[in-house]
Each structure stands twice: as C-alpha cells, then as structure tokens.
Amino acid sequence: MSKLNIQLPGLELKNPIMPASGCFGFGREYAQLYDLSKLGAIMIKATTVEKRLGNPTPRVAETPAGMLNAIGLQNPGLDKVMSEELPWLERYDVPIIANVAGTLTEDYVEVARRISTAPNVKALELNISCPNVKHGGITFGTDPVIARELVEAVKAVSKVPVYVKLSPNVTNIVEIAQAVEIGGADGITMINTLVGMRLDERTGKPVIANGTGGLSGPAVKPVAIRMVYEVYKAVEIPIIGMGGVTNAQDVIDFMSAGASAVAVGTANFVDHFVCPNIIEELPAKLEALGVTHIKEIIGRSHR
C-alpha cells in the first residue's frame, strides 16, 4: 500500500512531488538522469500561442540562499509543444500539468482550449503570476476581478481541471485566491517568484538584463509557507504548494500548512536528483511522525 498517493482534481498522483514549471523544461533533460515515471506529476514550461525567445541575458543571478531569474517565458509555442513535447512525454507514466501563459485573455483561452485536449495533460496551471514579461502574466494575477474573469474564460473551454498559479507580489493573496475560486478554479498552485533585484558591485547597475527578476530558492520558503497557511484557511479548493522546497522536511512543512501536493523548483538546479530523492526520503519521515499516509498531515498546522 502506498503511503504517498494523492488524488486531486484531474490528478492521480503516485506521490505528491512534482517539478515546478520553468525549472524542468519539458522533461527531456532530466530524463537523461532518471526515470520521469517516478514523479507524481510534471509541471511543464509555460506555453504561449506563439513561440517566445525570452529576455536578453544575463537571465539569472544568484542571491543569498536563492536566485533571481528573468527568462521571459521562452518556449517553442503551442504547435510545437502539442506536436513534439507532449507526445514525447507520453512514454512516461506521469500526469502532465500544462502551464498556460499569454498576453491577452484570448491567448490564455486559445492555449487552454487546445492543450487541454492532449491525452497526457491532466490539468492546467494558469500562469497569472509571471513577473518577467511586460504584458500579461502578473497583471492578471494582481487584480481579483481580472483574475476571476480570466479563470471563467479558461474554465469555459478547458477539457481538464484548471489550477491557478498565484503571485506573491500582492498585498492580499487571500483575496486573489478567493476570487479565482469563485471564478471556478479547481485548485491553486502557489507561490510564483517574488520580484527582486541584485546590483552589480562594480557598476551599481542590475545584474539581470531585464532589471528585475523573480526570486526563488530556500530564501523564499517562509513567505510561501505563510501564504499557503493563510490561503488554506480561506478556500475549499486544494493547493499545490511551492517555494524553496529542497528536501522531505520542506514537503512536510508545506503540507502541514495546507498544501495537498508540493512542487520543487530551483532545487532541481542544485541537486539534479532532488525530486526522486525526496520521494525516497518521505516514507521514513512519515514513520517518524507516526503517520500512516501522507494525506493525514495536510493542514495539520490548523488542527
């Protein structure tokens, strides 16, 4: 009997561990290192209608216990993702969560309508929180009314459940979470990166060509835990938590705060085997807590 399986709208997860969108490409690179079927799910890189070449370099900068990135949603575009990347991923026994991005509502709707028909796409993750593009992205994620309307439009066309990825760059994340729930979201994924900046010691100018970038890594975990904790109390729909997860204890923390599953982002760049390692470590962690199934710890902070 598995101690780790989790059921969520559209998703039968062998375990609650999945690589976060943007940190895992479309899986090909990590497939050289381990069997992707070990993963609970894969959140693939954000897909837009047309291909995007992204921002100028440098696109990443290290910060204390974290990193900034401003990739700019580089991706090959919906057609290529549908014809090449998703069919390639079908060789693995793993549900795909497709991250959907765009500039206008129509873009999100178009990507959602088509990508949700792919046989291995079991859920969508609506990216209303990318801080690194000039239009779209985060502008949808900082206003509750606009966020709700976008969710409604996407829900009307999607063949699979829709999760919404929330931005931490707001005054009140609970308000946005409640708005997307009212809009019909099936779940929430949180948090995206925090907008930050690092300056070059010599020139005093931003290191990242884009100026600002999204902060991720262990440095953001306390912010993410706090936000998951608050949102869990305020909504009925499940949460996939993320933000600075590097080990099994972090997973326990996120699930205690209220996450039903956990995504691993930046840690994939540091320890390329971090996802399978966490999956292997979890049963012993649960045993130490006297827990027979991982779902028992979901929301235990609140009990």
Binding site: F24, Q32, K51, L53, T57, V60, N268
Partner: protein, 257 residues
Amino acid sequence: MIQQERMIVVRQSEIAHHIFELTLQGQIVQEMNPGQFVHIRVSDSFEPLLRRPISIANIDKEAGEVTVIYRAEGRGTSILSTKQVGDEVDVLGPIGNGFPVEATPEKGTALLVGGGIGVPPLYELSKQLNARGVRTIHVFGFATENVTFYEDQFSTLGDTHFVTVDGTKGTKGFVTDLLEELNPEFDVFYSCGPLPMLRALENFYPDKPGYLSFEERMGCGIGACFACICKTTEQQEKDYVKVCSDGPVFPKGVVQL
C-alpha cells in the same frame, strides 16, 4: 552521459594570482572530453546556492583524475579554493559538447587562441591534438603577468606565445595584435575566452574553420532552465542555442557575436 558524483580532492594549489588548479578523482572522468565542463557544487549548504560551471583542463583517465583551473573571484570559487586534499566535492558532469579534435587533419596544424581563464580547456585539447600528430600553435592573452599560467606545460606541446594587456609578459596588447605579427600558417583554429576576443578572431580568419567555446551565466547546466541562451546568426535554422547543452563549443558562425 551526465552523472552526479562526490569526487575526492587529490591536489589543489594557487598557480597564479587568485588562479587555482584543482585535481579531483572519480568515476566520471572516464566519460570526459576536451572542451566539456563540470558543474560543481562548492558547498553542501544553500549558500551559495547554485553550481559553478568550470571547464576541464586536464583529463587523466588512467588515474581517474580531472584537473580544473579557475579564478577564485566570487563567493563560490573562493569557497572552492579552500577545499583540502581528501575533501569531497559534489560534481555534475561531464557536460556539453567539447572541441572536435578530429576537425584538424592528422599532420595538420591547429591554432589555439585563449584569453585569461579561457585558456585552461585548451590544454587538454592541445594534448589530444598532439597525440594524433597535429602540430599546435598556442597564442594566449592575459591581463597581466601575475595571472598567467601553464607556460611550461603548453611549451612542451607546441609553439607558445603570450600577450598581456599591460605588456608585463610577452607582447603588449591583445591576441589579435600578436596574430598579426606572427601570421601563423594553420588548418583549424580553436578558441576560448571573452566575447570581444572571439568576435575579433572570427573576423580575423574568415576563411578558416574554427571552433569557439562560450560562457554565460547558467542555472541548471543541463539545458532545462533556458538561462544561458545565445542568439544564433541568420544562417542558422534555430533562433537560439543553449551554451550548456548545445555548446559550450560551437563552430564559428553559429552564435551571433
């Protein structure tokens, strides 16, 4: 195949001002080729967080040892420079596509042009070129005398010329100044160094085949994160290449300089 291994430090020394030579032992050495790199985690903690991509300078498959030469300038490389003999270092590698040794015909001549901390990968390349009967000419540019290294090692392999910006060693100026003066006869050129140098070299030898090694700030090091993207020239089918997994070595004319 890329693997992750805890390699053992067998030697480490400062061979020039802030320039360190580190030799590591482990299984993954058997897979290594000149021009590839290793992605090193300098600390088991989260500070600093990311790995450091460092080029491979010498491969000794018999001893199972790899040598890297790096400049200890930032936080990560400074920590790496404190590693002692016997310490374990988390290494991911070997990564990327290296220099094509076979591009130079046997009995042919290769010109190796390096700039600063771009010189190290040319050492293993020169060894392997010489092993297949290729004559090598080495032209290396540095900022100043106290950051130069490996003069003896390169001299045993072929003609070796140094140029420094301040003239404290060899000719004064840039590698292209020296190349103009030397006007060497060769079949193929290989280069690693700062972008202005690579650009100058590509313009300098428009009719010769050449291979250039690039660097860019990296995240994952295996092609997943899209941090180390370079735009390609108009003749290329793809709009971009990833330095980590498509490179770091590209035939000249691929990357927009």
